[in-house]
């Protein structure tokens, strides 16, 4: 294989989500203010910006107001202000308690926020960044961190293209590129592939709690205009999740007669028979949700993990030559169920820190430890820190509001934080043996409100070049059948929202089949495998879902 070519930039950013794009925009703004003329480049593994973005989303504009105070004039795609919040506790498959507005925790009040597609916001941010002179390269995944001889990060390499499933170059073989930078910012979102490497290499998570995760599954529906109430935000917890499985649903009435509906299931669940996908299909049957979907049509599906460890799981975000921002570090505010504004803000802070250094003559490769103080002095820190105090407050409200609120407190808004915060058991170590748990009998999809996995995956528009190496690496290929199957009934078959993992038996005994083309890049397998045997790596650039409006 031929040598990789290289290109040099002042700053390379990995990932065109809100955090990476905010870094880029802020860098470009400051660079022009201070006449530094920085060269800035963003690589994005999706085929276009937004293609891999899946969120709720109710968006708080605090960071955006700072980044582009004139975002309205610039036609940012935030057009549906929240008009009403509803919170439910689903008691069973028919009944629900509705929480009176006065009792809804403050962090779940969304006045002033907007319902929007985060993918579309990213498309818009990318256009702003390009206008400011940033180079954005969608279709290129960063697959390797490049280290200098002082052990500092000096950039990243993009993946090779045109390698066959057998690992041999095809006619179309095109080697990856080395993108060298004075500073590299990692903004890959939850469970970033390179972020994981960096956390290990620099021991960034030393002394903090293990990160905790959830998987979010989401669909977009065209609904009957008569049932559509733009601006309505509905949250709820309870049925069908039970026995200590945490999570909650969301339902947002956005523009164009569309409703975003989703379920978040915390990945610390212990029953290996649980299937987040089937729980999601089931929750849509509840009248609280079904009443809006009736007569509608499902138009998109997808899933994505989210990092919800919050303040106490936040790793060090700086290391020689680079910074980790947004959900790649884990800056989501669980109490608000929001990570966009904090992602944007940490990206902006990273930009400010870098400009400060370069402006003072720094040649790159330093450990920008000043980032800590910058973060501590910002409202992101204040918010994430307050999340710790949020729990007791909720608890008091919970006593006032009775059992319902108490339940919500624990299940929906993480009110149990004082107990779970210092939970040092990572999500992958939570599963109990399959034999000790009861299998869950999920109803068959009805084809109206609930659907089978494959027809759902079809709506994620996911696609991968077939003839390429499998991007789901098993450290020990024997584990799924030898250990996971007997002990946990191989839970990958159920936690993967795209049907990638299948145990099949063609007569020669069970074996694991990996349908890698179906993967929607949610990262759940990398997180939840009880043997921590699966490593998700980026496939050939451009592969993966093609989410519209998600």
């Amino acid at each position: 294989m031929s040598e990789r070519e290289s290109m040099e930039f002042d700053v390379v950013i990995v990932g065109a989500g809100p955090s990476g794009l905010a870094t880029a925009c802020r860098l470009a703004q400051l660079s022009s203010d201070r006449q530094l003329d920085l060269s800035i480049c963003v690589v994005e593994k999706g085929s276009e910006v937004g293609a891999h973005i899946l969120s709720g989303a109710v968006i708080e504009t605090r960071a955006l107001d700072e980044l582009f105070p004139d975002w309205k004039e610039r036609d940012a795609p935030l057009v549906t202000p929240v008009t009403r919040d509803q919170v439910y506790l689903l008691r069973d498959d028919q009944n629900a308690w509705s929480l009176p507005s006065a009792l809804v925790p403050r962090t779940l009040h969304n006045e002033g926020n907007y319902i929007a597609s985060l993918g579309n916001l990213c498309r818009w941010l990318a256009a702003q960044a390009e206008e400011l002179g940033v180079e954005i390269f969608p279709g290129f995944a960063a697959t390797e961190v490049l280290f200098g001889d002082q052990g500092q990060v000096i950039g990243i390499a993009t993946g090779d293209m045109g390698v066959g499933a057998d690992g041999e170059p095809k006619d179309s073989y095109t080697p990856g590129m080395e993108l060298l930078a004075r500073y590299t910012v990692f903004a890959e979102g939850c469970r970033g592939q390179l972020g994981k490497v960096l956390q290990q290499r620099y021991d960034l998570a030393a002394g903090v709690d293990p990160q905790h995760y959830g998987i979010g599954l989401k669909e977009l529906w065209d609904v009957d205009p008569a049932l559509h109430e733009p601006g309505l935000v509905v949250h709820g917890a309870g049925w069908p999740l039970q026995n200590g499985t945490n999570g909650g649903f969301f339902l947002y009435h956005q523009e164009n007669n569309q409703v975003a509906v989703g379920l978040i299931v915390d990945l610390d669940y212990d029953n290996p028979w649980l299937s987040p996908y089937d729980e999601f299909q089931r929750v849509k049957q509840h009248p609280v949700i079904a009443r809006y979907l009736k007569g509608g049509k499902r138009v998109a599906y997808g899933a994505r993990a989210l990092a919800k460890g919050g303040f106490n799981a936040l790793p060090r975000m700086h290391f020689p030559g680079g910074l980790l921002v947004g959900c790649d570090a884990g800056t989501l505010n669980v109490a608000k169920l929001k990570g966009t504004h904090t992602g944007l803000k940490t990206g902006m802070l990273a930009a400010e820190e870098i400009v400060e250094a370069i402006g003072a003559g720094d040649q790159g490769g330093s450990d920008l430890a000043g980032f800590d103080a910058r973060l501590r002095g910002s409202w992101v820190h204040e918010e994430l820190y307050a999340t710790r105090n949020f729990a007791p407050a909720l608890h008091r409200l919970g006593i006032l509001g009775g059992g319902a609120l108490n339940y919500l407190d624990q299940n929906l808004v993480g009110g149990k934080l004082p107990f779970t915060l210092h939970d040092r058991t990572p999500d992958d170590a939570r599963l109990r043996p399959a034999s000790a748990c009861s299998p869950i009998d999920y109803p068959k999809p009805d084809g109206v409100l609930s659907f089978d996995k494959l027809s759902s995956v079809f709506l994620s528009n996911t696609n991968h070049e077939e003839d390429q190496p499998c991007h789901l690496h098993l450290a020990d290929p024997s584990i799924p059948v030898e250990r996971n199957l007997p002990e946990f009934a191989e839970p990958a078959q159920r936690y993967c929202p795209a049907g990638v993992y299948e145990i099949v038996d063609d007569g020669a005994g069970p074996r694991l089949q990996i349908n890698a083309q179906n993967c929607v890049h949610c990262k759940t397998c990398d997180i939840k495998d009880p043997a921590q045997n699966i490593t998700w790596v980026a496939p050939e650039g451009g592969g993966g879902p093609n989410y519209p409006n998600m």
Partner: protein, 250 residues
């Protein structure tokens, strides 16, 4: 020799096409758009002609709103030298208007070879190349799966129903590409940056002296009927019966 390649911006082939709830058209809001795959093959072929020395310049042209610049830039990142953007409100003006606009570009540019995709994967018309050749009175070869250019002659192998047909054409000529002509290259990062600096000229139907005609009107778009689930039959007799009386295909 100069090669002119026409490219169209279409919905990406990975995207599941969705009809708007009011059936007025296909929903294109925020879905991924790409160069029509057949046009991409045409660009690749033109660039290969240039790399082999048979062509000296590759010019790409696209018609539509500002967003089609993305596809022109992508073609330039593959290796085309410059672009022409004909600004119109829509990409789908109908094959006849597109051919008229392209014919005017050909008259201005005087390329030795015009390459187009055999059809676009959105409207599947398979008409533009043929109309263009007729308007220009150029020889044409459609569905090309092999192309060689020697001097002022092109030899084209065409995929036809019964097999392959090989034609010799006097240049200038119009050739439309089929799937097997080549496999387009991966675009390289530095080439994307270079493409941003390549010249892209803007023009309009008025400047070209062409009035797009509204020959066709889109009345309504229907998604294909949902596939019914299969049934298992007990015996051959039951199968024959089902084919006769239920499916009514016998």
């Amino acid at each position: 020799m100069k090669v002119l390649v026409a490219v169209k911006r279409v919905i990406d082939y990975n995207v599941k096409v969705r009809v708007k709830p009011d059936h007025s058209n296909v929903d294109l809001a925020n879905v991924k758009m790409s160069i029509n795959p057949f046009c991409e093959i045409a660009v690749e072929e033109a660039v290969r002609l240039k790399e082999s020395g048979a062509a000296s310049e590759v010019v790409v042209v696209s018609i539509g709103p500002k967003s089609v610049q993305d596809q022109i830039r992508a073609a330039m990142a593959m290796g085309a030298d410059r672009g022409i953007w004909i600004e119109t409100a829509e990409t789908d003006l109908g094959a006849l208007s597109i051919a008229r606009l392209l014919a005017q570009v050909v008259r201005d540019e005087q390329p030795g070879l015009v390459l187009l995709g055999k059809q676009s994967i959105d409207s599947d018309n398979n008409q533009t190349g043929q109309m263009l050749a007729a308007m220009l009175d150029y020889p044409q070869a459609t569905f090309a799966s092999k192309l060689t250019v020697t001097g002022d002659e092109a030899e084209v192998t065409r995929e036809i129903d019964g097999g392959l047909q090989t034609l010799a054409l006097k240049l200038p000529a119009v050739v439309t590409t089929d799937l097997r002509l080549n496999e387009p290259r991966y675009i390289k990062l530095p080439d994307i940056m270079k493409a941003k600096r390549k010249p892209l000229a803007q023009t309009s139907p008025e400047t070209l002296g062409v009035t797009p005609s509204a020959g066709l009107k889109l009345l309504s778009v229907e998604p294909p009927a949902e596939r019914q689930g299969g049934v298992m039959v007990e015996s051959v007799a039951a199968l024959v019966d089902a084919l006769k009386n239920q499916a009514r295909v016998l």
